[in-house]
Symmetry: C2
Subunit: 410 residues, 2 copies
């Protein structure tokens, strides 16, 4: 009898963004004349940079000629791209990453999900709370959690690290021993960051406890303040304890193009039950070679295009546009009396919902009264209750309109 | 202490094609003047069809304009492509597949590997022997096998179904009960096919034993003979017991473009340990939504382009080219005294190695004496010993040259 992976039955019913989409669809059907402003999902809206379009067309011409056609590429990515990543994203930070420590992929959602396959299911995971749902859900599927506890709104066996106003959005080191620590900074959903000394604490913890840090740097391009690490490898010794995930999605507007990468340093080790050291770089390489066939040649040429003076200029213009939106939202809502976090080093604005509302109640209120869609904080975890996320990825016109509508509610 | 997934330690040292690549690299370094003919890896060599190139460029223009830009797409694929797949690949066979039963992906290697995630690790798997290594390796990683047995060259707990000259390359139903059955027809590596009555036996077996068939149809476009099923869903009732994997890699020369799809019918069920039915369509949908972000918009437009009169004409020309190669290899090697299988309904030619050679010895012999690279049958499993695979994906000139060299060895 064919049996299922019963861990799937522990998953909560629907994915956060599907629930939002359903609510918005229902509202739109019932109110066809109202224009809904979507500042919910973190999806970009500006077109790809011209230089990226040129690169795609040029690569397509390569694929159309027998002499330059490319079939299966290396599962880890083409050298031309890995080399540029090492140079532009790490050398500039004073960090040495070898090109074969970089694994090019089709997205950080896949990578942060799939990475779990190389680890034992007995490891204890720690996640910040609120958190990007993929870290938790993929671990539920893998069997690293117990059942869902309705009372605490938490999964058993998981260590939740609250990041709230109470601790100034800086998670405390866990009180019990953990093995896999998911950190995303600049943070989704709170938009907050960790200073270098704060991040150092985690590297020290991981070394001391033989834990591993899964560091998601998807939003590093949005950092504006000095002294905030763009990569965990800026911390001394982090290569011994951290895997870093980076994506072109928000940096270069690639949410529909699909390209990302994961850095697995060669000095990174994990252990067998008996305590024997195993090189994780080899394990991840084997995983990728067996279950993945590489990113399209055309996509890798598209990603390569941003690593040039002109490419950097063009993508930075787009980022500046979203940053300006973040600033407008922050200022506009502060003016309307809201307490705002994030937004300065991230495309996410995290706000306290007004007294008397839950996150979902505030979602419904904004949708019905202002026709603005955001994301309820509780959807990211129990400590997200009482908060609400807005994103800076809309058009400037829509963003301004949304702010105005929220201001007029007051 | 962070522990690894120790199932990875059971994997055999290196992936078949890496070993071949290393041997070829060594030979080329030592013999820089000899031109090596590669008929080893199943990678296409003809450029993408012109209509596909046009579609990519048009889709790139969409991505360059704010009004037509696409960010995150549906994880399951765009309707425009799923609709065409249902119509061109299934309606034409008289098979009804709903568009939302089709999950577009970046490759069948990923899909045949990832599909295991939704099943329990207690299921007994059956694989034909020889077999495409990914089916086995991904199950080793998942923990569905025991240790490797040096004596039998088999993994414990796995049911091997020999497909050799002795049974005319038709696997027999397993003598012990199995739960997950991997079938790939037209077969890689043997190039042989199953008739409709033979495939019916498997569907009947699966129904009777509550097993599931994982049917890999990557090479269906190469079928030339009447009466050979192109899809397992041509068998009555197969939708209740089978998942089908299809790829654009060999059909449309997409090995470097990366697009495939998996059909998970809604009537397909698996069970909890307690025997409760669970809908696999929902489970796979949840897996894809959580761990995958969809195939690039541009790639899906590229795939869509082949589903038109002109698109079909162009890709069929490429397939005809490879078929002609297969015919030339078959006739040429038969003339040289070899016993040949496959080639008629598949891009693979499977030959008996001459008496006195093992598969790897014949590999070395061909490389050294004829400078021709093929794939040793034993690399696909113990029953592949004594066989050798050649592929029809080379250029016609190289294929003819390779045949001539092998003929001249005699």
């Amino acid at each position: 009898m064919i049996t299922i992976n019963e861990n799937y039955l522990k998953l909560q019913d629907s994915y956060l963004f599907s629930t939002i989409a359903q609510k918005v669809e229902k509202f739109t059907k019932e109110n066809p004349n109202k224009k809904v402003m979507k500042l919910g999902v973190g999806d970009v809206t500006l077109p790809i940079a011209p230089i990226v379009g040129e690169a795609i067309k040029k690569a397509t011409d390569d694929m159309l000629q027998k002499e330059t056609f490319r079939g299966y590429g290396p599962e880890q990515g083409y050298d031309f791209l890995r080399q540029k990543i090492a140079q532009y994203d790490y050398e500039t930070l004073g960090v040495t990453i070898e090109k074969d420590e970089i694994f090019v992929s089709d997205g950080s959602k896949c990578d942060t999900g799939n990475i779990g396959e190389i680890f034992g299911t007995d490891n204890v995971i720690a996640i910040t709370d609120p958190v990007y749902p993929v870290y938790l859900d993929t671990n539920i599927m893998a069997g690293r959690t117990g059942e869902y506890n309705q009372k605490t709104a938490q999964f058993e066996k998981v260590v939740y690290l609250p990041t709230t106003l109470e601790n100034n959005f800086i998670p405390e080191l866990p009180s019990r021993k953990v093995d896999m620590i998911y950190l995303c900074f600049p943070n989704n959903p709170t938009g907050t960051v960790l200073s270098k000394p704060e991040l150092e604490k985690w590297v020290t913890y991981a070394k001391k406890n033989k834990a591993i840090i899964l560091f998601d740097g998807a939003y590093e391009a949005f950092i504006t303040e000095e002294g905030i690490p763009h990569s965990i490898y800026e911390i001394e010794g982090a290569k011994e304890v951290a895997i870093e995930f980076r994506s072109f999605s928000k940096t270069a507007g690639f949410t529909g193009v699909r390209c990302a990468y994961t850095v697995v340093p060669k000095e990174l080790k994990a252990y067998t039950q008996e305590g024997k050291e195993v090189c994780l770089h080899q394990l991840w390489n084997r995983r990728q070679c067996t279950k993945f066939n590489g990113v399209p040649y055309i996509t890798q040429r598209a990603a390569e295009a941003i690593y040039s003076n002109e490419g950097q200029k063009q993508i930075k213009e787009n980022i500046a546009y979203y940053r300006e939106n973040a600033k407008l939202i922050t200022q506009g809502l502060q003016k309307a009396g809201y307490t705002i976090f994030g937004g300065k080093n991230a495309p996410y604005i995290w706000l306290k919902v007004p007294k008397g509302y839950t996150s979902w109640e505030f979602f419904d209120y904004l949708l019905e009264k202002a026709n603005v869609v955001g994301t309820p904080g509780s959807g990211f975890g129990p400590s997200g209750e009482g908060y609400f996320r807005l994103t800076a990825f809309g058009s400037k016109a829509n963003t301004l309109e949304a702010i105005l509508r929220i201001q007029n509610l007051k």
